[in-house]
Amino acid sequence: MRSSLRSLVAPLAVAMALSLSAPAIAQQQQQQPSSVNPTASSVQERQLLEALRAGTPGTGTTLHGRITIPDTNASNLIQPQGQAWRSVHQGLMHWIAAIAILGMLAVLVLFYLVRGKIRILHGISGIRVLRFSAFERLVHWMVASCFIILGLSGLNVTLGKFLLPQLFGEGVFATFSQWAKYAHNYLAWPFMLGLAFMFLMWVAHNIPGRIDIDWIRRGGGIIGSDHPPARKFNAGQKGIFWAVIIGGGTLSLSGFYLLFPYYAGGVLGGQFWNIVHGVAGVLLIAVIFAHIYIGTIGMEGASEAMTTGEVDLNWAKEHHSLWVEEERVKASIHPQAPQPAE
């Protein structure tokens, strides 16, 4: 019995002796500077960047820390997304712009060569019908003139450097770009105001309906010489209206975030909204090219609607038959309204 107890105690005592001496050995090892590696536990840039790339939760979007200067944005140490934004802005963006704008121009030229100018089939009647009031025209031209300058200055800031400095010299180009930027920033406001008025004035006339499906099915008079019935705005014009409202709205929102960058969440927000702004801008420019085409050289009697505000009765009958009927009914209800001279 005793011997068996001793046989149990002996290994226990050895184990205890070993465990007591272990910390002493560890301490000895720590005193050796060559075996210490403070960076074993230190924060490593590569690991942080890899965690960012993998989208590890809790890492955020930038390598950031604490700073002691008041500018809290400076706490971002590295934000690798700048490289991605650069490649989109300097690569894909140029392609989108070129394809949208040059593609639309090519389509329009081709269309003009095939279809020619759309004439008034029954000739000019000489009877004028008021289509757009002075206020409607004022709003249209306010938005249009702002958009032309906004579009050109916008294209300049993205694509201008590939052509203009070589033509006019770097200094002249930079001065021009500076003024173009001011114009872009300040004309954005009358553009947005006009956009709001446009929406309120014309939204009631631009609700899509069954008549629009019929109009599209019959080619809208664009393909073939059919003249499907339409109210004040046909399906094509409704398309332009909604493109301007949605495109202009997108441009307004993204532009606001670019003007006031820290509302959009700093650099990343700026990068995102810049791309949204650029894509929406070139797409709307392409749409507006088609709008300008059909309103001027593409169709006889169309441009007068937005210049004098009055269109020829035959033009109105061919393109907006139901609208002419509505106007006629209105005029007969209110006979005191001025009648067009016969």
Binding site: V36, V43, A74, R86, F260
Partner: protein, 198 residues
């Protein structure tokens, strides 16, 4: 010519912010602009490190690529500088820069934020070297006087190194070899697509 770079040895930086102060003083940098700052990562946790960061004068600099008026240029010493005469203050370099280097004198509204300002590696701008006009627009031009950037020159622990890429990399390698550790050249992979093998 030399290929000038910055290298911050994070194992030496004690976050004294003297580089930040020296930079502001040397170039008379306006209120609200910091061409250099010290960021502390994992503050208060084991393994915390501080890194002094400014413009890294990147190879194939993103700011220069996206600038709509081509106001950036790279000097013979591979320092990325810009012309404030050409700059239109659009903010594109600010979006593209991985290091948050571009600064604007008036914050908030990008419409009137003014000309961009950033670290010049103490080498002025496109105006005549050490002229008053150059000092007013870009700050001191120490490189033209044969001196290195002040932030690195006065760093008390010599954590921040400035100079030719090969030379500062050699110094850093020797340090790592001698002390047996090193947390790497912060930002080099992003700025130069290379790092220091230790």
């Amino acid at each position: 010519m030399a290929r000038m770079k910055f290298l911050c040895d994070a194992d030496r930086c004690i976050e004294c912010n003297a580089c930040v102060t020296a930079c502001k003083n040397e170039h008379d940098v306006p209120w609200g602009i910091n061409r250099r700052r010290v960021v502390t990562i994992n503050d208060g946790k084991p393994g915390e490190r501080s890194i002094s960061m400014a413009c890294m004068h990147c190879t194939d600099a993103p700011c220069a690529a996206v600038c709509p008026v081509n106001c950036f240029y790279t000097t013979a010493d591979a320092v990325v500088l810009h012309s404030k005469e050409l700059c239109i203050g659009c903010g594109y370099c600010f979006y593209a820069c991985p290091f948050g280097a571009p600064q604007y004198p008036r914050v908030g509204n990008f419409g009137s934020r003014g000309k961009m300002d950033k670290c010049t590696y103490c080498s002025g701008g496109p105006l005549a070297d050490n002229s008053l006009a150059e000092y007013a627009a870009y700050g001191a031009n120490r490189l033209a006087q044969g001196k290195l950037p002040l932030c690195a020159e006065m760093c008390s622990t010599k954590a921040l190194l400035a100079g030719d890429s090969d030379m500062i990399a050699t110094i850093y390698k020797e340090r790592v070899l001698k002390r047996g550790y090193g947390s790497g050249a912060w930002g080099w992979q992003t700025a130069y697509k290379e790092t220091i093998a230790t």
